[in-house]
Symmetry: C2
Subunit: 367 residues, 2 copies
Amino acid sequence: MNQVTPWEVKGDIDYDKLIKEFGIKELKELPKEFNDNVLFRRKKIFAHRDMQRILEAIRDKKPFAMMTGLMPTGKFHIGHAILAQQMIFYQKLGAKVYIAVADVEAYHARGQSLEESKKIAIEEYITNYIAMGLDVKKCELYFQSNRSNDSKKSNAFYRLQNLLAGHVTFNEFKAVYGEITPGKMLSGLMQAADMLHAQLPEFEGTMPVIVPVGVDQDPHLRLARDMTKRIKAYKFVQLSSTYHVFVPGLNGGKMSASDPNSYIALTDDAKTIKKKVNKYAFSGGKETVEEHREKGGDPDIDVSYQWLTFFEEDDDKLKEIYDKYKAGDLLSGELKAILIEKLTETIGGYQSKRTEAQKTAEKLFKI
Amino acid sequence: MNQVTPWEVKGDIDYDKLIKEFGIKELKELPKEFNDNVLFRRKKIFAHRDMQRILEAIRDKKPFAMMTGLMPTGKFHIGHAILAQQMIFYQKLGAKVYIAVADVEAYHARGQSLEESKKIAIEEYITNYIAMGLDVKKCELYFQSNRSNDSKKSNAFYRLQNLLAGHVTFNEFKAVYGEITPGKMLSGLMQAADMLHAQLPEFEGTMPVIVPVGVDQDPHLRLARDMTKRIKAYKFVQLSSTYHVFVPGLNGGKMSASDPNSYIALTDDAKTIKKKVNKYAFSGGKETVEEHREKGGDPDIDVSYQWLTFFEEDDDKLKEIYDKYKAGDLLSGELKAILIEKLTETIGGYQSKRTEAQKTAEKLFKI
């Protein structure tokens, strides 16, 4: 699948294909608690499958779960924060939150040891989840390589992974993963077990499960949905999913852990944030101040503005920035200064909680 | 691999290949306790890999383990008894005995539910192991789908299965399993984890492990040995293995659970044993009594005689039967009568213990 950039997504051919061929649907008519959230209100989370089940569960105060995972590599950056915000959002709505540390996948995909994965998962990901407001004590937060301290749960989880293999073909795996290896296949089956196992009797029992993913992840959902339909040994409620756009890379490309100039990490200090944004943020401004004043900037391609659409919650303020930038009243440097202030405030807020958060994370996994 | 019948095995091309290309070795110069056992003394167990490690452990009274599995399908018959005898043999020699009920494999290979596998495993296999003399309370006897009541053990076992996938290719799987499916691949990885996990720190720790198998199973051992060498996250002592011939089918073909005339089950009563042997046992005798008296029978192709080589422990008695049959002094009907008596005595002995044995088996798995 092609890279789906946030400002292209509506017109993107693959998006059309997803809607027409695979039946994902635009998210609309959401209840107030969803629209209170910037990600839903601004259609950063823009499409879904079977979301109705989740909305009904929330409306009827019935149990439901949210499942997501993290690949424990690199720095935790603001791209990852989007998913963390959704964890916190659903937890506050009453979801049982399941979070898989994909250390088995990291072993196969990156050759990363389980020890290294554990270290990164705790120091980078889990610590920041907690700092951002996730109550990890109320989560089922686990490592793929070490599912539970309860043997019934562990056995049930890995049993599901093993049995799922009977309900999928190699060609279906190839369609999703490209060149397929035994390691990738195990990771894929593990991922399906991650998504489905909350519904096992050893865990929550049958209930709707929402899996929020980036729009490029839909093939994985389709694979898991196919297995869900076919496996007769279990009765699962079919998975629900939502699809979110990506936070664009700071320098205008894709945000990537291997390119530090493409992201702001949650550990970046105020000085680094200021330096990175000023130096690397892809600008929609004109070449000269004069030209910019005359013709105005283009907020739709300006990364500083795009980032503000994720982090500036005040719609009026955001609209004012958009209009002023487009009119040429706001210069690129000024727009960057607004972003720097916002990021410093937001990330600084998280950072003030990191020391305590890391203690909680380490205690949780007995380090 | 071609079918390797017990009386062909020495001259069989595949056996030569195993020795020349793959390096399995003839078993010789065994210590007394091995030669006291009919299976070793008569070269029913005829070849090995890395057996020296096991012999040294026994000699030095160092810990070692024996690992084997059972596919819970069909009736437990005297073909299966050969493996059970080896479990008991090694247990008495001080081995920690690991036995896997291959219910995940049965799910993938036969579409058999875990519940059905559990029932058959307990009623047929485990009950008979106990009746034959295995102390299951001192075994690590487990279901692949439900490794342990200790979460540390379960996690460690399935973790190993998952990580092993990173150290094998699809082509290597294909070479062993032929047409490969995701289910077969998971079963294969599970089997390798079965063989290796006794050495994990959560189980016995590093130690020699003997895996006794039928000679057709060597490709599975080679696959597991390759993974053992490659996986760096663990340090294993390379697996040891022995290779045994098959008990020939009663009617002269392969002994098969799908052909009741090819085997005697451990639940067959005296009347059934008599009827089956008289009616179906492939004979090496001549067409008429006169011709037999004159030319003699051929014990080397006579299934009754062949079976006696597994069950009649007295070498002198066996030689006498061989000589008399070959000389024509013993008729086919008389030879069959000797076998019937031996089987009735042996199996009857097991059957007298079955009721108690089944209670033990059911209690062990809380049924």
